[in-house]
């Protein structure tokens, strides 16, 4: 059982939808990477696909880019199947590229990618917008990590796309470079693009997206505004020995999920650890072996899908 909120925000008009997945299923051999997954991406909106590694985030991106065919369901980008090359001219992508050819310069890379699109943005604009003008004649291999990521970002922008797919764009970046990429992503949405971003940081999704989709083992666990998702995703993890039964624990305010380790030992996931602690201590005087820690996204999402 999954608990899905309605995908469309109340004020969104269907004509703004740039791309959509409808009940898409995709398997790799015996493994189901994506199961009856639906998603709508709207102009001017950043959607974050949030989930632990291997949840199916990259599969969603690859389906939207036409690199994969779905086993079942329908995918549309501006009314077209993304496997048609016409559809691709409307999409920009930033994938997890370990390396672009090192020996071509920034400008050469951009010129080449521009030639693929019928109406590319001017090279000077792209360089200017990404702050790469000073290093335009430098070879890719000599750039810093942040500059490399920005060049890949410039390549995604070459065709002035309607839909931009960013697969973990800030992985491996320092804080400064990460802020830069965040700034660029906000600018994309402001320019009216539909942006899909994958990440395994709740903080990043919260900072950027108007809409967060939580995904785990190929299934949509929950979707909604950052506020709603933050309430649903447990930030804290409390472990203790208590006599309190499951029902009482679940009824506590701010408890997202519980996990029984043994008849006495329990792990509680919560988005408000102090509130839960106060309730626990008030209810059970014999409470012992108390341990409070931050929950990883993996733990939190796993607990949620188990509880749902």
């Amino acid at each position: 059982m999954t608990l899905a909120l309605p995908l469309a925000a109340a004020d969104a008009r269907p004509e703004d939808t740039i791309a959509s997945l409808h009940e898409v299923t995709r398997c790799f051999g015996a493994r189901t990477a994506l199961k009856q997954f639906s998603l709508a991406l709207r102009a001017g909106e950043v959607t974050a696909l949030l989930g632990p590694n291997g949840a199916g985030k990259t599969t969603v991106i690859r389906l939207l880019l036409g690199l994969l065919a779905p086993d079942a369901g329908r995918i549309q980008v501006l009314g077209r199947d993304p496997r048609q090359s016409r559809a691709r001219t409307a999409i920009g992508a930033m994938l997890q590229v370990a390396q672009a050819p090192n020996l071509l310069t920034v400008r050469e890379h951009i010129e080449l990618f521009r030639s693929y699109y019928p109406e590319p943005l001017p090279t000077a604009d792209l360089l200017d917008r990404t702050g790469l003008t000073p290093v335009q004649h430098q070879r890719f291999g000599t750039l810093s990590g942040g500059q490399k990521q920005r060049m890949l970002f410039a390549l995604a922008m070459c065709g002035n796309p309607h839909l931009v797919c960013l697969d973990e764009p800030t992985v491996g970046l320092d804080i400064h470079a990460r802020r830069q990429v965040w700034h660029d992503i906000r600018a994309l949405a402001a320019a009216g693009k539909a942006v899909l971003l994958t990440t395994h940081y709740l903080e990043e999704a919260d900072a950027l997206a108007q809409h967060i989709v939580l995904i785990q083992q190929g299934r949509l666990i929950r979707a909604g505004t950052p506020g709603a998702i933050k309430q649903a995703v447990a930030a804290g993890r409390i472990r203790c020995r208590t006599k309190l039964p499951d029902e009482v624990l679940r009824a506590c305010v701010a408890v997202v999920a519980i996990e029984r380790r043994s008849p006495q030992e329990v792990v509680i996931f919560t988005h408000d650890p102090p509130a839960v602690l106060r309730a626990l201590l008030a209810l059970d005087a014999t409470l012992s072996e108390l341990e409070v820690s931050a929950a990883s996204l993996e733990d939190a999402v796993l607990a949620m899908s188990a509880a749902a």
Binding site: F28, G66, L68, A98, Q99, E111, Y116
Partner: protein, 261 residues
């Protein structure tokens, strides 16, 4: 003399349609030329072998034979290292995927690799003819030159196909040594270093099965060292080999795409 490469471009209606092909070819050539390990070895090895083995046989047919056969050596290594290794790396680094997600014309990618390899083979050929003239004391007539250039251009098709297949199945880390391991015996057994008649019988029996042998026979026919009559058969064998390799590469590509998670 790199002009003939341009012929590989397909006819298209507008300038916009042609531009990605032209740029893809140009930048692939530039990239390879800047890759010193590639450009130095693809051009350097045939020239070095020529200096070692041909200059002792000045004014003899050997000095001319080796111009044709080492040009083939150049084409083979240009394709196997440039295309095979190139694709293996681009695949492993996710670069191929990014290009595939863009509206890049699919054919442009392969044509660029093919045209660049052919260009390197022609550079090797011209340098060998120069060495042959200056140090080997042998002349290549314009007709023979055109014939050899034609063989190299057409020969770039089957070896592009082979390079593509290798690039799709080979892990990039194993790359260079694995290619050398296959390619060096192949070029020896195909008469690149000495006429096939001088090789052991069993090797002579195997040779016709090798695409490098078929290529060498065509190149030697252009110089009059092999009968012209056989050219059609060698050409057909190479055409069949190309179809086989492209088909295998396509099947591999589709399978890899479906498997990549």
């Amino acid at each position: 003399m790199i002009e003939p490469v341009q012929a590989a471009k397909p006819l298209a209606i507008s300038g916009h349609r042609l531009r990605p092909y032209a740029l893809e070819i140009a930048y692939e050539f530039i990239r390879l030329a800047r890759t010193r390990a590639y450009s130095l070895s693809v051009i350097g090895f045939p020239l070095m072998f020529y200096l070692l083995f041909a200059t002792g046989h000045r004014h003899t047919p050997i000095a001319k034979y080796l111009i044709a056969s080492y040009s083939c050596l150049g084409l083979g290594s240009a394709c196997l290292f440039g295309i095979g290794l190139g694709i293996a790396f681009e695949r492993a680094q996710g670069w191929l995927e990014l290009k595939w997600a863009s509206p890049m014309p699919r054919l442009a990618y392969l044509l660029a690799k093919m045209a660049s390899s052919a260009a390197f083979a022609l550079i090797v050929m011209i340098a060998l003819i120069g060495l042959g003239y200056s140090l080997g004391g042998v002349n290549v007539s314009p007709g023979q030159m055109a014939g050899l250039a034609g063989v190299l251009l057409l020969g770039s098709i089957p070896f592009t196909a082979l390079g593509l297949l290798i690039g799709l199945i080979m892990p990039p880390t194993a790359g260079p040594s694995l290619i050398n391991l296959i390619y060096l015996p192949l070029s020896f057994a195909s008469g690149f270093f000495m006429p096939i008649a001088m090789l052991p019988r069993w090797l002579q029996a195997i040779a016709p099965a090798l695409p490098t042998y078929q290529l060498a026979q065509l190149a030697l026919a252009a110089f009059g060292f092999a009968p012209r009559a056989g050219a059609l058969v060698h050409g057909l064998v190479l055409a069949g080999f190309s179809v086989l390799m492209f088909a295998a590469a396509w099947i591999t590509f589709v399978a890899v795409q479906a498997r990549t998670q």
